[in-house]
């Protein structure tokens, strides 16, 4: 009985998202009175660092092309070999393809998208997740011997508790794949929205795509990723992958700027778990102010450049 976290290398390294899961796995192992082990998928030059975040043993497999069945079989075999009975993923695209399969294969109870460290209650685990577009929190109980969790990004900050770990190459054979990856198209150089710590998002208040320079300048000043409301993406003012909300990407950054966005419920559904929300809108009655931590009422075309300037001044000190 132990905790097994499953993390992946992105562009040759483990990123903060992976270390969040290390810390989450470590804290869960403390709750359960056991150890935390890691399965690292893909080559990562910084793999040994998982030890610093509390992972006792790490197994690594090299780069393998994605196949939900293959990943499921490898993870199930690894968990069985280690005797792991709590398996933890980040709630990312891999988890969305694999966690459900794994739960069936291991006859495990699954809760996806959790946002709290589990509490043990006898042999059962209690975990919280956000439901109904962030309007409620559901506390789930898992009563099966094997449990699978997928954890929302930003649930916990990575915490250093130990030394680098020894990473062993996994000896689990890689099953043959029945699918073939033919192309992978990802944006490079910017943090993808689901992973972003800071997001600058703008809506129809921008009037047109030609005005986006001020948004991009603000974003680049703080190293944020840009996002937009749905009508903006629908009108092709901005690329589809920037669309956040109920029908777009759901995000929960530390800091979310909503600029010229009214704050319709379907928009809020995808962003209201952000830790701090700043709203800039000329309409003091805009519904977004009710969901905001900080607000500025006024014309965004004047305010945004002033804000970028203020941040620049702040960074010089």
């Amino acid at each position: 009985m132990s905790v097994l976290i499953v993390i992946e290398a992105v562009e040759g390294k483990l990123n903060k998202g992976a270390f969040e899961i290390c810390t989450y796995g470590y804290k869960t192992s403390k709750v359960l009175g056991t150890t935390c082990e890691a399965l690292i998928i893909g080559d990562a030059h910084n793999a040994t660092e998982v030890g610093k975040y509390g992972v006792a043993n790490a197994l690594q497999i090299g780069n393998i092309s994605f196949d939900s069945k293959v990943f499921t079989q490898i993870i199930a075999k690894t968990a069985n070999d280690l005797g792991a009975d709590t398996i933890i993923f980040r709630h990312n695209s891999t988890a969305k393809n694999v966690a459900g399969r794994l739960a069936i294969r291991m006859d495990a109870g699954l809760v996806s998208g959790v946002k709290s460290i589990p509490q043990a209650n006898g042999n059962t685990l209690l975990v919280d997740k956000s439901v109904y577009s962030g309007k409620a929190i559901a506390t789930y109980e898992i009563n099966s011997p094997v449990k699978v969790l997928t954890v929302m990004g930003n649930t916990i900050q990575p915490e250093i508790v130990g030394e680098a770990a020894i990473v062993t190459l996994s000896s689990t054979p890689i099953p043959a794949s029945t699918t073939q990856v033919i192309e992978r198209k990802t944006i490079t150089g910017i943090v993808p929205l689901p992973e972003a710590e800071m997001v600058v998002s703008a809506g129809r208040g921008m009037k047109g795509p030609e005005n986006w320079a001020i948004i991009e300048e603000l974003a680049s000043e703080i190293g944020a990723t840009t996002a937009c409301s749905r009508p903006v993406a629908d009108a092709h003012w901005r690329p589809h992958h920037e669309h956040v909300g109920q029908t777009g990407v759901a995000i929960r950054p530390n800091l979310y700027f909503a600029i010229g966005i009214s704050g319709a419920i379907q928009h809020l559904a995808g962003v209201n778990s952000s830790k701090t929300i700043v709203v800039i809108n000329k309409d003091p009655e805009a519904p977004f102010f009710k969901a905001a931590d900080y607000g500025v009422v006024g014309d965004l075309f004047e305010i945004v450049p002033k804000l970028t300037e203020a941040i620049r001044r702040f960074k010089q000190h």
Binding site: D67, K96, V98, G100, I104, G109, G113, V181, I303
Partner: protein, 246 residues
């Protein structure tokens, strides 16, 4: 092609929510229910498009009680050929997946569609569970799907982009934006839907591994702090010192 579309019923996003029975149960009183948008707009329409182009049949399946028939009839009005309702209480993704797989096992569907998630509990769990139970390939959050004989080419959303994969096996896909364009049922569709077959079957027993113990409401925001539009230095200070976000 034999196509199966899994459809669920969810409260409209704009619904006010509350809970009854000590917080264990969603209060359905006065709530307007809709077909889960991803099931309706993308999964169902894509299946209909494939049928229109390649021939075949589109069956919709729902696990739930008779109050779901209205949503099932809407799917038939949009263009599905027939429907199956498993007359059980959808208490968990595993329960739903096992009902669907139990039926699908006897039917050899080529493609099974689900939505990327339900908008109430956001699980993304049913699709991969069905795939594992049937030993099908699985693709979550598909934004494109094309078919050439038995070869299916799927684009699925990944962090910051898409990955394009092919499979010649039967597949389960969960539908995301881009897969198809929403269709509004027309009068003829609505009339025809009343005569299309809706089969009601009994559920199989499934031992539950997860259950919701209680629902609580999130802590209310403290209320917005307004900053003078001429004093952005103050906003930066607050974000740095108070929110610790910069």
């Amino acid at each position: 092609m034999k196509l199966l579309v899994c459809i669920s019923k969810t409260p409209d996003t704009t619904s006010k929510i509350s809970f009854v029975n000590n917080g264990t149960q969603y209060n359905e009183e006065g709530i307007s229910f809709i077909m889960n948008p991803y099931d309706e707009w993308y999964a169902l329409v894509k299946a209909i498009e494939i049928k229109e182009k390649n021939g075949g049949t589109v069956t919709v399946i729902n696990v739930g009680d008779a109050s779901n028939d209205i949503v099932i009839r809407k799917a038939l009005a949009i263009g599905a050929d027939d429907a199956i309702r498993v007359d059980g209480k959808p208490t968990s993704a595993e329960y739903v997946a096992k009902q669907i797989a139990h039926i699908a096992k006897q039917q050899a569907y080529d493609i099974i569609f689900t939505g990327k998630e339900t908008i109430d509990y956001n699980g993304s769990e049913v699709g991969p569970m069905v795939a594992e139970l049937l030993d099908y390939d699985y693709f979550a959050f598909a934004s494109d799907l094309s078919i050439d004989g038995s070869k299916k080419t799927v684009s699925r959303e990944i962090e910051g982009g898409v990955e394009i994969t092919t499979s010649t096996n039967p597949i389960v896909v969960s539908a995301a934006k881009g897969l198809a364009e929403q269709r509004i049922p027309n009068m003829q569709g609505i009339m025809m839907s009343k005569r299309k077959p809706l089969e009601i079957v009994n559920p199989i027993a499934v031992a539950e591994k997860v259950s919701v113990k209680i629902h609580t409401l999130p802590e209310a925001k403290k209320g917005v702090k307004l900053v003078d539009s001429n004093d952005m230095d103050e906003l930066v200070r607050l974000l740095h010192e108070e929110a610790k976000a910069l």
